[in-house]
């Protein structure tokens, strides 16, 4: 994983975990990689992954079963969407709006493109 973005690494790892859950690669009530496994895979300090997991527990996206590991929570999809949506609306969308404004584009133009994109990638 490349950490190019400006966000703190523990938050980038939170996005990575949310994406796995939203894409249903990691399913509800399934065990997810341990702190150490994810740290090795992503080549980061285990304390950083620990911080990510603490954060995602607060958001009720994952939970810890003592002695067994971390699991995807029942309401993970809904909670991950809420968390990511806030982030997207506050941080990414203004950038998109700014570029649209500079290029003289209106939201109507996006709709057919968005439909096509969904068909191409997630159909």
């Amino acid at each position: 994983m490349q950490f190019r973005e400006s966000q703190a690494i523990y938050l980038q790892i939170a996005d990575y975990v949310c994406e796995k859950i939203l894409l249903k690669e990691w399913k509800v009530e399934e065990r997810i990689p341990s702190v150490r496994e994810l740290a090795v895979q992503l080549e980061v300090n285990p304390n950083t992954v620990m911080r990510t997991y603490d954060f995602l527990q607060q958001q009720e996206i994952i939970h810890n079963q003592r002695g067994i590991g971390y699991f995807v929570s029942q309401a993970a999809i809904k909670n991950a969407q809420t968390y990511r949506k806030n982030d997207f609306v506050e941080k990414d969308l203004p950038q998109v709006f700014r570029t649209m404004f500079l290029l003289g584009m209106e939201p109507d133009e996006l709709k057919p493109r968005f439909e096509k994109f969904k068909k191409q990638h997630f159909a």
């Binding site: 950490f3 973005e5 400006s6 966000q7 703190a8 690494i9 523990y10 938050l11 980038q12 150490r36 740290a39 090795v40 895979q41 992503l42 080549e43 980061v44 300090n45 285990p46 304390n47 950083t48 911080r51």
Partner: protein, 277 residues
């Protein structure tokens, strides 16, 4: 785990440390940074009992390193920047050196050797510098000592090996271990260390956890000329300026270790004031 108080040290007339104090705890990976000749290696050697303080005390795991007691030596390992390995096959290294380290794990060692892609058929002297270094890193990690000191471990490692190095270190840390890595290769270790310690002019110039750094400071690209002017540190980049400012928004950005290092060396007081407040 490691307490250094008022350390004075020098070589002949050259003073290196003039009252250096530092505390290191278990469960962390420390990044030790500093200009050439500031004494990073000298500090590691004082911790390992390879050099003796002129004044002040060094305490590692409850021992005075300079006394070189066996109980101390079996629980600390140092990977120096320059080293000599005997001209023997890898198995001999394990056979004759591993018994000094009670927590040595041979399976673990073999796994690292495989991960680092080191040929088992050649003797150590016939290996390249990078390969020898990887053998020593693998051996050091497999010793499972409470303290692991590494001096410029990524020097001489190829691109794949640097990535492997981060993986084995990430997997090697646990709450009972303290890993100290001195380096100039800040990009190699940026995501691996959780505490930044900078030495300058014989003392500790800066010592903070990465969490604390990203809570207090914001690293970003700015286009706002007022913000750039007021930044704690600024540097022109292709688009806008790379700046370090106080973190007032509460959002945490990714620490740019190279930028932070330059900022502390060139404008240390401004950065320090953020942490002292």
């Amino acid at each position: 785990m490691i307490q250094i108080q008022n350390l004075h040290f020098g070589y002949r007339k050259k003073k290196i440390f003039t009252g250096l104090s530092l505390q290191l705890e278990a469960g962390h990976i420390y990044g030790l940074l500093g200009k050439n000749g500031t004494g990073k290696s000298t500090l590691l050697k004082n911790m390992a009992g390879l050099l003796f303080p002129k004044q002040g005390t060094v305490n590692v795991l409850g021992f005075t390193p300079g006394k070189r007691q066996p109980a101390f030596l079996q629980d600390i390992f140092m990977v120096p920047e320059e080293f000599h390995l005997p001209d023997v096959p890898i198995e001999y290294l394990v056979k004759y050196h591993a018994p000094f380290y009670p927590k040595f794990n041979e399976d673990q060692f073999n796994r690292y050797i495989t991960e680092f892609d080191i040929p088992r058929s050649t003797t150590l002297q016939k290996m390249s510098y990078g390969q020898k270094k990887k053998v020593l890193i693998s051996f050091g990690l497999a010793c499972n000592t409470s303290v692991l000191l590494m001096d410029e471990p990524t020097n001489g490692l190829d691109i794949m090996s640097k990535s492997q190095f981060r993986k084995v270190i990430a997997g090697g840390l646990d709450e009972n271990k303290c890993i100290v890595i001195s380096t100039h290769q800040v990009k190699d270790l940026e995501s691996l260390i959780d505490r930044v310690t900078i030495i300058d002019e014989g003392r500790i110039l800066f010592d903070q956890t990465v969490d604390n750094i990203t809570r207090r400071l914001s690293f970003h690209i700015s286009f706002d000329s007022d913000e750039i002017k007021q930044a704690l540190y600024r540097e022109p980049s292709l688009r806008g300026s790379a700046v370090i400012t106080r973190n007032t928004q509460g959002d945490e950005s990714k620490m740019d270790l190279e930028l932070l290092y330059k900022a502390i060396v060139l404008n240390g007081n401004a950065i320090q004031s953020v942490f002292n407040a």
